[in-house]
């Protein structure tokens, strides 16, 4: 009975109706994920600053707009604030030798207080689309999607260009092989500072867009943002590799990161549409990200000769007497 009631309560139309909103919000988070991609994939730096800098972006955008500044000026200042946040994490790491994760957490915690101060010690500040001319709002979803797409497209083009330049290439090299980078005369500390700054500027930009979209900034709006960003990056990569395979290049990766954000929010839409308990949403997100992060590792492990040799040894031990040990050792040596 429950099931019949349950399924009859689900309205397929309601799901399709929810799509535009999910896409718009997914685009905004996809832009945020571009920032996460820069640190997590290119710089190999798990940067937890983003939870704080996302809210900073929202706070600066809302407060400046409310104080009468043009929305574009406000958004630009939000980017600069995010840039400074990233720079702060970078300095903690490169100049003071604090490990990446800890450096990010420290800045994130500091930003909580800073964000409250930016918002005149309010945890939440409204930004009404009726009072201010905003760039986008959930009021008009079509335009929100178009503008979200424009922002994403421009960012992807700029990032594609930048990471193709001498400096951008140096940042990529730093993330992949710091020893080689130093040997090639790259100041890897500076590259980390630049990468973190760009990343957090983008994250703050996305925070500023989301604040306009939802009509308020909240000091907690970035909480768990790193996980959403990672989810978008990873979903995008898995999907992109599945669809494009070998043709997946840097451009493709950036595009699929944004698509990953959209898919993430469509899944959220499905979860809400199914009336699942939203209290468990974060748990599901964490599980999805953990699984997708684990897949490449487990794949690699099952292919490694250790695993194979181990299996063979186990099979031999089961089949024969203990004298088979010598045999196994010989085989292992061959393998090497």
């Amino acid at each position: 009975m429950f099931l019949i009631n349950y399924f009859s309560s689900l309205n397929p139309l309601a799901f399709t109706n929810a799509l535009p909103g999910n896409i718009a919000q997914g685009l905004i988070w996809g832009i945020m994920a571009l920032g996460v991609y820069i640190t997590f994939r290119l710089l190999d730096f798990a940067d937890l600053t983003v939870d704080g800098s996302f809210a900073t972006g929202g706070a600066v955008t809302v407060m400046m707009t409310v104080k009468g500044y043009n929305i574009w000026v406000a958004l630009l200042c939000a980017c600069i604030a995010g840039l400074l946040a990233g720079l702060c994490t970078g300095l903690l790491h490169t100049k003071l030798g604090i490990p990446p994760i800890l450096a990010g957490i420290l800045t994130q915690i500091a930003l909580y207080s800073i964000n409250l101060n930016i918002m005149d010690r309010h945890a939440n500040q409204a930004l009404s689309v009726d009072k201010y001319s905003l760039i986008l709002s959930s009021r008009n979803l079509t335009s929100a999607i178009v503008i979200g797409l424009l922002f994403a497209a421009v960012l992807i083009i700029v990032l594609y260009w930048y990471f193709g330049t001498e400096q951008g290439s140096a940042i990529r090299a730093t993330g992949c092989n710091p020893a080689m980078s130093r040997a090639q005369g790259i100041n890897i500390d500076n590259m980390k500072l630049i990468g973190l700054s760009i990343s957090n500027a983008i994250v703050a930009l996305s925070g500023g867009l989301l604040a306009q979209y939802s009509g308020f900034a909240d000091v907690n709006m970035g909480r768990g943002g790193i996980v959403i960003g990672l989810a978008a990056v990873i979903i995008g990569e898995v999907l992109g590799d599945a669809i494009l395979g070998k043709r997946m290049d840097f451009k493709g990766r950036l595009i699929f990161v944004v698509i990953g954000g959209i898919i993430y929010y469509i899944v959220i839409g499905i979860v809400l549409w199914l009336k699942m308990p939203s209290d468990d949403l974060k748990l599901f997100t964490a599980i999805i990200v953990a699984i997708f992060l684990a897949v490449p590792y487990l794949k690699g492990k099952s292919k490694s000769s250790f695993a194979k040799a181990g299996k063979r040894a186990a099979a031999m031990l089961a089949g024969r007497s203990a004298t088979a040990y010598g045999d196994v050792d010989a085989k292992n040596k061959e393998e090497k």
Partner: protein
């Protein structure tokens, strides 16, 4: 070209693992010198190279490259004087970047990296020619990720990278040790070719005495963080492995304890 003056380095000072890795190393290389460096495990061969490269600051002494005192310069700043190839083929190249991108990075060693495009068309053509000379078929795979190459191919690319901007000194740190014998000899031949063609000053650490004798115009032997033997010119040409073993015992008072060096 390179001068190492009384350099000292101690690791883990004050702990149970304290090690005096360099104990007053003195060495002078003239322009065009190709020195091979041998010695037992822990003799300080790689440590000396790292001291020159600036991986960490030295405790005492001075290092001069082409008359410039670089003792206080960090690793990335010294890089403009140095070309380096490492023991681990993974270290010298960036796996997730293309072959041509790696070369382009190396071509800008010691230069300011700005917002110009990371690789020019002219460079691509130049790299194509250079890769063709390696005769490994890499010229047709310029946009492949370096991570897909074999260890030998990666060392070849690294050698090429080290010589793109002519270095004052080329540092080769057991760069064939991780390769199979056949690939190793190919890479060594390539090393000789690059050094000769570009008239480079080079220092090559090796475990293999035969290689040490066969290559270069000078040979030094290290023990306990010191240079204990310095052979050059005609004397080096007449050297045999047996000579070296005898000399080692003579100078150090102990037996040369490396099977690998004997067998190699």
């Amino acid at each position: 070209m390179l001068e190492i003056r009384n350099v000292h380095k101690t690791f883990n000072l004050g702990t149970i693992n304290e090690k005096h890795a360099l104990n007053g190393v003195n060495l002078k290389l003239d322009e065009g010198d190709f020195v091979t460096v041998i010695g037992g495990n822990g003799a300080g061969k790689s440590t000396m190279l790292n001291a020159v490269a600036g991986t960490w600051p030295v405790d005492d002494g001075a290092i001069l490259i082409d008359g410039v005192d670089v003792t206080g310069l960090p690793e990335f700043k010294r890089a403009s004087f140095l070309g380096r190839v490492f023991q681990d083929p993974m270290t010298g190249t960036t796996a997730t970047m293309q072959i041509d991108e790696n070369l382009a990075l190396a071509a800008r060693r010691g230069q300011k990296r700005g917002l110009r495009w990371g690789i020019t068309k002219a460079e691509k053509e130049h790299f194509h020619e250079l890769l063709k000379e390696l005769d490994l078929g890499l010229e047709d795979r310029m946009t492949s990720k370096v991570g897909l190459l074999s260890g030998g191919q990666r060392q070849a690319v690294t050698l090429l990278m080290a010589s793109l901007q002519k270095p004052k000194v080329l540092l080769l740190d057991e760069h064939t040790a991780a390769l199979d014998p056949k690939t190793a000899s190919k890479v060594l031949a390539l090393t000789d070719k690059i050094i000769t063609e570009n008239h480079l000053t080079a220092m090559m650490v090796t475990h293999n005495m035969r290689d040490a004798i066969a290559h270069g115009n000078r040979l030094i032997m290290m023990n306990n963080g010191k240079v204990i033997l310095n052979i050059s010119g005609e004397e080096k040409k007449r050297l045999t492995v047996e000579d070296l073993l005898l000399k080692f015992e003579e100078v150090s008072g102990e037996e040369f304890a490396s099977d690998k060096a004997l067998l190699g």
